[in-house]
């Protein structure tokens, strides 16, 4: 089932694999499609086991490996981990397992974007519980900007709100105030962050409401566009770009559960209509040894 580094080398005309715990990573796929319109993509959402954000690092690593193996079986030329939680917990094991296929996460590009945006070296990160507890964003920012003061906040309700497509209105603003007022309102103004990093792929849908709630002067950044730029650089450097005009921007959507829900909720994140028939259901449960060879 596994192809070794000596027999496998990625081809420019192969698709790009993108995986996420569910539909949130479609905000990243959207940015990739805009930046790389000639490339084909295979997106896998592990909807049967979402959310990853409240699970333990060892479970997240196991799930990420299973998802990435399924994309690898489809011959992808590189792998984008479009899930902050999986980027934080599993990027190292994925990079080791799939070399020489390049593996990119969304965490480092997001941290880089925040470091470029801040003027006062104070950055707030909104993420899932697992990402915040793991401290990976805090570390990635401080590696680039050692004097940075990073405040990380777990905002699990934002995930549920995004999946309900409630992106503005009094309830959403109330949740934002409850999560953020002690960072942006309490205390001396000089201690407030000037940059807010959306460290979960679900959160870009709240960008305009957050901008209104926080008021002017706060830069709101996410990792989608920056990840697309990093991917373009990696493909270029590795000679893996598809010839311009050769591809079709084809998107294959895989999910581990619920095509109907994937299409309905995913359309909000991808920004275009989806039908259940567009989504192929796959099973990632570990294959018994006897059948592994046939996959």
């Amino acid at each position: 089932m596994q192809t070794t580094a000596t027999t496998y080398s990625p081809r420019p005309d192969a698709p790009i694999g993108v995986f996420d715990s569910g539909v949130g990573g479609l905000t990243v796929l959207r940015a990739l499609l805009e930046r790389l319109p000639d490339e084909d993509f295979v997106y896998l959402g592990d909807t049967a086991r979402l959310p990853y954000g409240t699970k333990s690092p060892s479970s997240i690593r196991q799930y990420s490996l299973q998802a990435a193996r399924r994309l690898h079986e489809r011959g992808v030329k590189c792998l984008v981990v479009a899930c902050n939680t999986a980027s934080a917990a599993a990027l190292d094991v994925l990079t080791a397992e799939f070399a020489p296929v390049p593996v990119l996460g969304v965490l480092e590009p997001g941290a880089a974007a925040a470091c470029r945006a801040t003027r006062n070296d104070r950055i707030a990160v909104l993420a899932t519980e697992s990402t915040v507890r793991g401290g990976a964003y805090q570390a990635a920012i401080v590696r680039r900007l050692p004097q940075a003061v990073v405040s990380a906040r777990a905002c699990p309700l934002f995930v549920a709100l995004a999946e309900e497509a409630w992106t503005d209105g009094p309830v959403v603003e109330g949740v934002m105030h409850r999560y953020l007022d002690d960072l942006f309102v309490a205390g001396a103004e000089a201690t407030h962050p000037d940059t807010l990093l959306l460290g979960c792929t679900h959160f870009p849908v709240f960008a305009s409401t957050l901008a209104r709630v926080l008021g002017p002067g706060i830069a709101i950044v996410d990792s989608a566009a920056t990840t697309a730029g990093s991917l373009a650089e990696v493909l270029e450097a590795r000679g893996l770009c598809r010839a311009p005009g050769a591809g079709h921007g084809r998107v294959t959507l895989l999910a581990t559960d619920g095509a109907e829900r994937f299409a309905r909720v995913g359309a909000v994140f991808l920004g275009r209509p989806l039908a259940p028939a567009d989504v192929e259901i796959v099973d990632l449960a570990p294959a018994p040894a006897a059948t592994a060879a046939s996959t």
Copy 2:
């Protein structure tokens, strides 16, 4: 691994198995402990795969069977499915698989409680997306009360709010108004339900806030206490009650992921402090054929 009906018969001194997709079922365990203080309990929360409420019926059945088999291996004398979603989707397959071990869900007791409470035959059910779409509550109510008018509403944000332990305040009231005003405020008063059934084990933590938001005259019922009563009757009828004073109300807690989070969030639902060391982590992934015999 499986014990057949002819060789296995439940014993009165065995523990009672309780399973849920996560920590919400601890509200049911709490009611069982109050009603049956002499019994021992083994509770299994499938936290690695929660929530069940947005997943497909076939996934829910598969997960429920895996969880129930693990409890069966521990020799439980009966099985309580303390998860509305699993009760709706999987009670029939569990009952067939584990006979003669009695299997009780929370759905029928909840429906019975609502039918007893209503005076105007109008019942609102709050539940997860999967439970609402499956229509099992609607069917269980109409079987008992054919003239009933049932309005079912999926409230996924309540699950996220409960797990954040946000059970009152303006955000919670705002969510309640957004989900419920068209049922309880819009239209003629005569068409409003007089009974609200909390059809998800997470929701009893909102009972007092819901009572304030909805005002007097609305009966709020859940299935925990009624399920405890049903369980007592089943144990009595089958001669499976533990002798009074013989047991210790021992509780064994199993989870499939995240002992720390289980203890922290679960304490809200169980109503007593829990430590991570109180929670044993188990793996429900399908065992490869070679090792199944050893479990």
